[in-house]
């Protein structure tokens, strides 16, 4: 067994209430690491042959909750959630920052695979070498804040009663869903620590479909040892020294972006991407910092980057709302993209999103989409039960609740932007797809491509995780040196570490010191990373049962990105179809896909993915 792992994983079948421990051969771990990679591998092995028939919200789907070999040991502890996505019908590795994976590993497990569906709401409690299914009826319907408070108290009570004499039990760590996941809102998030979300992919709905409210972990064991303990310790110290010396991120997190990305690179969504420029200084970091940041340096286990900052509104209409910063993505999606430019309103919408358990990026994208349809008179007051004007935080609060409770038009919007656009188009007899800003069902991150100063050309169009901004489709080539690509993202999400703490010239030595595996970036991009992306690409293209993507048509930017920017320093600029087509061809070629974007037999064979080749033969016809 390579080091860094506990070596044990859990299989939990909620239908049969059966729990078993499993292991993987070292070769599998070497090829897929953990997190996003291992999830794709397990999904392929167990569901690959029937992939197109598996409904993501059925008991058959597998929810994967995985750490990686570096999690906890490398700075920046995250958990990676995956499964068949109810949005893209492929797979997404969605990660969130939390102590949960550290507790999981200390309890003796690297991850959990959940199948089936519980008869009534349950949660999983994982403690030292033990996993139990516990009734969660009393937690169903609870908001994030209540869920945390109840579970903290309940689990401490359970643990204390089992071992009363050992002293104070520290709180457990948990991942959970809010009412949005319970009500199967397709872009619901998996939440942790009140304000952190694994948002992309819609895995909150997958948890909800299994009647699984939460997974709680508390371990009393050590983290797994590294192969070269002393080397790992020295590298860890060097990591922290460097993280501490980078002050911009420590001081502001990504919270300055709310102003800078709009005003400077002109790539921030404004009013459902009708514009990507604004010069509202109210959205700048200092305004938030001075008025709302109650904890200006906040972090998770083993991280001194401290890019997180806790905001709290202490007076006025939204008194008591708490959120993280908001970070840039939520400044944009719970702010400017809804026409909101007041920090308190922005914090409020972010806090509502977290508490209800919707994804502050994805569901908020759907809210912007709805508001544009209202602006154009396609959806009206009758559909919502109220007016939905840009910038009206009260109205967007009501809209969020409408979606989460699946009331009125909210029931349709709860299907995510793309599916809602299909339905509303039929319902109203108007093509509303031009206003749906998504790629392959995944609402896109808050970095535009039109100005060409931030993200570019095909970053989303051919990304295996659709609109996920943390995993952009950029070629790994000499002229792209230093550019973050989906092959890099596949590493961070499979080693399961934070992309903000990863330091390129240390990470491979660190990987070697922990696991004993001698891998470098070039090798990763040629072997492991490529294999993971290949599998994800195959699963995405196989899709189904309700939606199938055609790369000719769907490896494409949202239509909006071909409309010229109407305002700002890059006014008139737009994505250019000729360049997009050319880059797509280059990218397909560099990834070992044919001219239609389908993985080639030759490349699949090179990577040892013959079984994948058998299944995707039908797509080549």
């Amino acid at each position: 067994m390579p080091r860094g792992y506990t070596g044990k994983f859990l299989n939990v079948d909620l239908t049969r209430e059966r729990i078993e421990e499993i292991t993987f051969p070292e070769e599998t771990l070497y090829q897929y690491f953990g997190g996003r990679g291992l999830a794709a591998k397990v999904l392929w092995d167990r569901l690959g042959k029937s992939w197109s028939e598996v409904d993501p919200l059925s008991p058959e789907n597998i929810l994967t909750v995985l750490s990686g070999p570096l999690t906890g040991i490398h700075p920046g502890s995250r958990i990676c959630i995956s499964g068949k996505s109810p949005l893209s019908n492929g797979t997404v590795g969605a990660t969130a920052s939390t102590e949960f994976p550290m507790e999981l590993k200390c309890a003796g497990y690297d991850g959990v695979f959940v199948t089936g569906k519980a008869r009534s709401p349950v949660y999983l409690l994982i403690t030292d070498n033990r996993c139990e299914i516990i009734d969660a009826s009393h937690l169903w319907g609870k908001l994030g804040e209540e869920t945390i408070k109840s579970l903290n108290a309940e689990v401490r009570r359970i643990l204390t009663s089992r071992k009363p004499g050992i002293g104070l039990w520290k709180e457990p760590s948990m991942i959970y869903i809010g009412p949005a996941g319970e009500n199967l809102v397709r872009n619901a998030a998996v939440l942790t620590k009140l304000v952190h979300a694994a948002g992309y992919g819609g895995y909150g709905a997958v948890m909800g479909s299994k009647n699984l409210k939460a997974i709680v972990a508390k371990g009393r064991g050590p983290l797994p040892n590294a192969v070269a303990t002393k080397t790992a310790e020295i590298l860890l110290h060097e990591y922290h020294k460097r993280l501490i010396s980078k002050d911009r991120m420590r001081r502001w997190g990504t919270g300055y972006g709310g102003y800078a990305v709009g005003a400077e690179t002109s790539s921030e969504p404004v009013r459902n991407w009708q514009e990507e420029w604004h010069d509202e200084k109210s959205m700048a970091g200092p305004r938030y910092s001075a008025r709302f940041w109650v904890k200006p340096y906040w972090a998770d286990f083993n991280c001194t980057r401290s890019c997180m900052k806790i905001s709290c509104i202490k007076s006025g209409r939204w008194k008591g709302d708490i959120t993280d910063m908001p970070d840039y993505e939520l400044e944009a999606y719970c702010g400017t993209n809804l026409g909101i430019f007041r920090p308190e309103d922005n914090i409020h919408i972010s806090a509502i999103a977290d508490n209800l358990g919707i994804s502050g990026i994805n569901t908020a994208n759907t809210m912007g989409f709805a508001a544009e349809l209202y602006q154009r008179g396609i959806l009206t007051k009758d559909d919502f039960g109220f007016e939905l004007k840009w910038g009206d935080a009260e109205a967007f609060t009501r809209l969020a609740r409408l979606i989460v409770n699946r009331k009125k038009i909210g029931d349709t919007l709860a299907e995510g932007t793309y599916r809602a656009a299909l339905k509303i188009g039929k319902m109203k007899g108007v093509d509303v797809m031009p206003y749906a800003v998504h790629v392959k069902g995944i609402e896109i991150g808050a970095h535009g491509i039109r100005s060409d100063k931030d993200f570019h050309d095909i970053y989303y169009a051919v990304n295996v995780q659709g609109g996920d901004h943390t995993s952009p489709a950029a070629e790994t080539s000499p002229e792209n040196a230093g550019v973050w690509t989906e092959l890099n993202a596949a590493f961070a999400d499979s080693a399961v570490i934070c992309l903000f703490t990863l330091i390129e010239d240390l990470v491979w030595d660190f990987t070697h010191a922990v696991t004993g595996w001698n891998i470098n970036e070039e090798k990763w991009c040629r072997e492991q990373g490529r294999r993971i992306i290949m599998l994800q690409r195959a699963l995405l293209l196989l899709g189904g049962p309700d939606l199938f993507w055609n790369p000719n048509k769907d490896d494409e930017n949202p239509q909006r990105f071909y409309e010229p920017l109407p305002t700002g320093p890059h006014k008139g600029k737009t994505a250019e179809r000729a360049i997009v087509e050319e880059k797509k061809k280059q990218y397909y070629n560099s990834m070992g896909w044919d001219e239609r974007g389908i993985p080639t037999e030759k490349e699949l064979q090179r990577l040892g993915l013959e079984s994948v080749n058998e299944e995707i033969k039908k797509l080549r016809k």
């Binding site: 804040e145 002293g167 709180e171 050590p222 109650v294 083993n302 001194t304 709290c312 708490i322």
Partner: protein, 173 residues
Amino acid sequence: MSSHVWIVRDYIRCTGCRRCEIACSLHHENKIWPEASRIRVFMPFPGLEVPHLCAQCEDYPCVESCPVNALSVDDHTGAVNVDEIKCTSCGNCIRACPGKVPYLHPRTNKAVICDLCEGEPECVKVCTEAGYNALRLVDEDVGVQKKLHALEPNVVAKDLAINLFGEKGEEVI
């Protein structure tokens, strides 16, 4: 002349990075082992991080309470030393501590109490290095104030909650 040192804690500055737990357990256990760290960071609610460690009370109620004399005060630092061979895991020291700081080690089941690393605590080094200064080493005689820090994490967190979140803080724990 006393060479006693003391760790001042400023809870509101703690970021929850838990590098203190890592440094402590690497020093004492040669592993990253948060639950065997002499300093444990509690988090009764997200954002309310409470580093919890021995405050070396003037009257050392834990030492007094030990029926087998397994606990003693270090002449050099003033820290409480645990004699693992003598310790019977009875838990008296936990009950005697006003802050319920000691706990039983997950492997040895013996009492675990901060030993101040012979006067150069590892937790303080990493917290200082990061510039958080939630933990600071001082050599002055802080006297009775020490006991203000021998509190259960929930008690500290309640004040911290109001400090951070205002009226909302009354609801979160």
